[in-house]
């Protein structure tokens, strides 16, 4: 067994809950994985750690109810440090022929990391559905607002409105209010009826459900206005249109406005799938996530031999599921290479993941993506801010040129052709395309991934890559 484990060369991309637990399981079987992460410190999105140089706040202050889990993941990672080849500040920007191309930020160098087995745990970012005025300074995504708080210890503004839908909406509002910011209101596009209908499914995770209920109750008790079933109309600017001055929304009967100096907007999360795409993983439409995602079996095997998928990067399932999926994928990797693993543990993890699936369905029902968003997006709404492409341009591209597929829409309109390469605007553009063509979202497809995953400086792309996995 040791002989075969020694020959294994696993690489993990992502040091969030999924990547950390995967690394831990591999190390427990005497492997020494390479762990590559774009961030400077392990923890991923939810358990993001502030830079060591910043004044330390307690885990309790940073992560609230999640403090215990955050501590556990951080501790697990810290205990692994000696046993893994850890590469922080390292962006995987390309994958080809059993090697990853990695850009190391601080030394501004690129390297090639060979792998025999790869666990992709690249997590997620916010899903953005823009609203007129969203490009004004002072508008943040919910995740971005949270990162500012966790990472930099600052709030996005003094009088903040949170708008959109999804579990993060109330959580971030709660975290802001707790941290002393003035939260003017929470505007949820989901209706109360959605939440009631979803309650039975959500009770599959009573503890998580209870937390959600708690945030809502806490916010209400602290005088934060909570509105559901809203339709965001626009973010209002000040006289010079130089910063946020308020928001306008429709409450079902009339248009209303609120003054504020910052807005957090978000509609749950979207998976970071570019690496899986470059690796050649097969994608399928996942109705639950309203997205095309790389397919994985219950254990986390992708359609490509030697490539495993764990955590939010292959479908949003949350931090707990990410931990389980990371460990499960590592066990699958070991099993596939003849290393004996605890089969009962593997089964238990699969059961937990399966059970969580039911809860996720509940969440999606409680906080559905507003199905009429595209219908109400005005023509002048900027969908792709890199290329300044409006909803009207997208619709015209459909009407005049007959675009009915995402890559065609991109080619003809430039949506998703800028720095983010559609990572941010792709979801919204797909909604508009589906609406304008009358086709189901699934049928309009997804943007094909191309290297680099994120922009890379030319002189670094030109640098001769250093090979090898050595430290």
């Amino acid at each position: 067994m040791t002989a075969s484990s020694a020959a294994l060369q696993p690489v993990i991309v992502g040091a969030g809950p999924a990547g950390v637990r995967a690394a831990q399981a591999l190390v427990a079987h005497r492997l020494r994985p390479v762990v590559i992460d774009e961030a400077s410190r392990a923890g991923g999105q939810i358990y993001r750690r502030p830079p060591a140089s910043l004044a330390q706040r307690s885990a309790r202050a940073l992560y609230g109810f999640e403090a215990g889990r955050a501590d556990a993941v951080h501790a697990a990672f810290d205990a692994l440090r000696e046993h893994i080849d850890y590469r922080p500040d390292s962006l995987v920007w390309n994958a080809q022929g059993g090697r990853l191309d990695v850009l190391h930020g601080p030394t501004r160098s690129t390297a090639n990391v060979p792998y025999g087995q790869l666990i992709v745990a690249t997590g997620a970012t916010d899903r953005v559905l823009p609203v007129p005025g969203w490009t004004l300074p002072g508008v943040y995504t919910l995740g971005g607002a949270q990162v500012a708080l966790k990472f930099q210890g600052c709030a996005i503004g003094e009088r903040v409105v949170f708008m959109g839908t999804g579990p993060l909406l109330y959580l971030v509002a709660y975290q802001y209010a707790k941290a002393g910011a003035k939260v003017i209101a929470v505007l949820d596009t989901a209706r109360l009826a959605d939440q009631l209908a979803a309650a039975p499914a959500m009770l599959r995770q009573p503890a998580v459900f209870a937390k959600g209920v708690y945030y809502v109750a806490w916010l209400r008790a602290h005088g934060v206005a909570l509105h559901s079933g809203v339709r965001p109309m626009r973010v209002l600017g000040d006289a010079q249109e130089s910063r946020v001055a308020g928001v306008a929304w429709h409450d079902g009967r009339e248009e209303r406005t609120l003054a504020c100096d910052a807005v957090g907007v978000g509609y749950a999360l979207r998976s970071e799938t570019q690496l899986a795409d470059l690796l050649g993983c097969r994608f399928e439409f996942a109705p639950l996530h309203r997205a095309h995602l790389p397919v994985r079996d219950a254990a986390g095997r992708s359609s490509v031999r030697g490539v495993y998928l764990a955590g939010d990067g292959a479908g949003i399932m949350g931090a707990d599921a990410a931990e389980w999926a990371g460990e499960r994928a590592a066990l699958a990797l070991l099993t596939d290479h003849g290393v004996a693993v605890d089969a009962a543990r593997a089964e238990a993890l699969e059961r937990k993941l399966h059970k969580l699936g039911g809860f996720r369905e509940g969440l999606e029902r409680a906080f559905p993506l507003p199905s009429d968003w595209a219908a109400h997006a005005p023509d002048e709404l900027v969908v792709c801010r890199c290329e300044n492409v409006t909803a009207g341009t997208l619709r015209q591209t459909v009407a005049v040129n007959g675009a009915d597929e995402m890559n065609r829409l991109k080619a003809l309109s430039r949506v998703g052709m800028g720095r983010c390469q559609g990572r941010m605007c792709g979801a919204a553009a797909a909604e508009i395309l589906a609406h304008a063509t009358g086709l189901p979202l699934q049928q309009v497809g997804r943007l094909r991934g191309q290297a680099p995953i994120k922009p890379i400086p030319i002189h670094l792309a030109a640098a001769p890559s250093t090979g090898g996995a050595g430290e």
Binding site: Q96, N112, L412, A451, P455, A462
Partner: protein, 384 residues
């Protein structure tokens, strides 16, 4: 349940790239009936993903009549396809990095003198004055002021749309998986969806034209190639010319939005249909880009890509009638340079259908060249 549709028309075309689509348009302008089958979307393959260089300079002399014809079509692009396709006669500058390169550019100017390309050699002080942004390895070059660039993503689909507006029946997402000739007419079948009967057939299937030619006993050494492309984020505008380098290697242009589009090197095939840039090619391209244009040093690549192009060993297309089957005409194998001449190739194919001959010399593109030592082919008895 077979809902198969059967259509009869004058000309059937396989492939909706710039060649097939412009042939369709030209045929319709002659009042000839056309059905075009494209297995994907028109202009989504080579024709829609290429670098966008619209240049005559540097082409083999035997291609210049065709290139000149194309140049005239490009000149009235808007009237022809109803879109400007971001076509610009921005100038194409071929760079020399040595005296030998310079001599070679001079030779080309002499050889192409009959074709009125207006080539102007620039070097030394005049070069530095006109393009202070050029890296020091460039010692001179040759400018063709009327050559330029266009956006292939817009131009190529627009040719198909124009053909459709002119009355061509275009079926996208219809792969031709069977072709036959019964002595009278061609039959094309796309799965269970469509059957087309026509006395004439144009083989414009790009890198995938080989099997169709083989079906008619004309196997040619067509190979796929995958040029690497990259684009930077927008940077302040500094350059109008589209640049090439004598001897090849790298080419680049800056678009109105400020992005630089660069090409050079070879990518990797993912399968028969798809390709991607190769890491070493990206590195080489990046190094050459910085050498050529030092200001790019701090710019970022935001995307790389490739495509699948049909290549023939002598880098010349096959354009002309089949040697075995009357009514069949080939237009494929443009070997990395078919975007500029594509519209003229389309017109030539249309002329061949209508008149049996083309007003532009195309003898050197004959498929015969691959069968030089063989007996003359046996012609299928009946002709339309």
């Amino acid at each position: 349940m077979t809902g198969r549709k059967t259509l009869r028309t004058d000309v059937a075309i396989v492939g909706g790239g710039i060649v097939g689509a412009s042939a369709a348009l030209a045929l319709r302008q002659m009042g000839i009936g056309v059905v075009l089958l494209e297995r994907d979307l028109c202009g989504s393959r080579s024709s829609g993903v290429n670098y966008g260089g619209v240049r005559r300079q540097g082409r083999p002399i035997n291609q210049l009549p065709l290139a000149q014809r194309a140049h005239r079509i490009w000149g009235r692009l808007r009237e022809t396809i109803g879109a400007d396709g971001e076509y610009l006669r921005s100038g194409h500058f071929k760079i020399a990095r040595s005296e030998a390169d310079m001599a070679s550019l001079e030779r080309y100017r002499a050889q192409s003198r009959d074709f009125d390309l207006g080539l102007e050699l620039i070097s030394d002080a005049r070069l530095r004055e006109r393009c202070p942004w050029l890296g020091t390895r460039a010692i001179g070059g040759s400018l063709c002021a009327e050559d330029g660039q266009a956006n292939p993503r817009l131009v190529s689909p627009a040719f198909a749309l124009a053909a459709q507006r002119a009355g061509a029946q275009i079926f996208e997402r219809h792969k031709v998986d069977e072709v036959a000739h019964d002595g009278q007419a061609f039959m094309l079948r796309s799965g269970n969806a469509l059957e087309v009967h026509a006395p004439a057939l144009l083989n414009c299937a790009g890198a995938w034209s080989g099997p169709i030619a083989s079906e008619f006993g004309e196997a040619v050494p067509l190979r796929s190639s995958h040029p690497v492309m990259a684009v930077t984020e927008p940077v302040p505008h500094f350059m109008d010319w589209s640049l090439g380098v004598e001897g090849g290697g790298i080419y680049c242009r800056q678009v109105a939005r400020g992005n630089l589009v660069l090409g050079g090197g070879r990518g990797i095939a993912l399968d028969a249909d798809r390709a991607r840039a190769d890491r070493d090619a990206i590195a080489t391209l990046a190094a050459q880009a910085v050498e050529l244009l030092p200001t790019l040093r701090h710019a970022h690549f935001i995307r790389t890509w490739s495509g699948t192009e049909g290549n023939l060993p002598d880098h010349q297309p096959v354009l002309g009638p089949s040697r075995t089957t009357p009514g069949l005409f080939h237009g494929f194998g443009f070997s990395g340079a078919g975007f500029q001449i594509g519209p003229a190739a389309g017109e030539v194919l249309a002329e061949l259908v209508r008149d049996g001959r083309s007003s532009t010399p195309i003898e050197s593109f004959s498929i015969e060249r691959f069968f030089a030592e063989e007996e003359a082919p046996t012609i299928t008895p009946t002709s339309p």
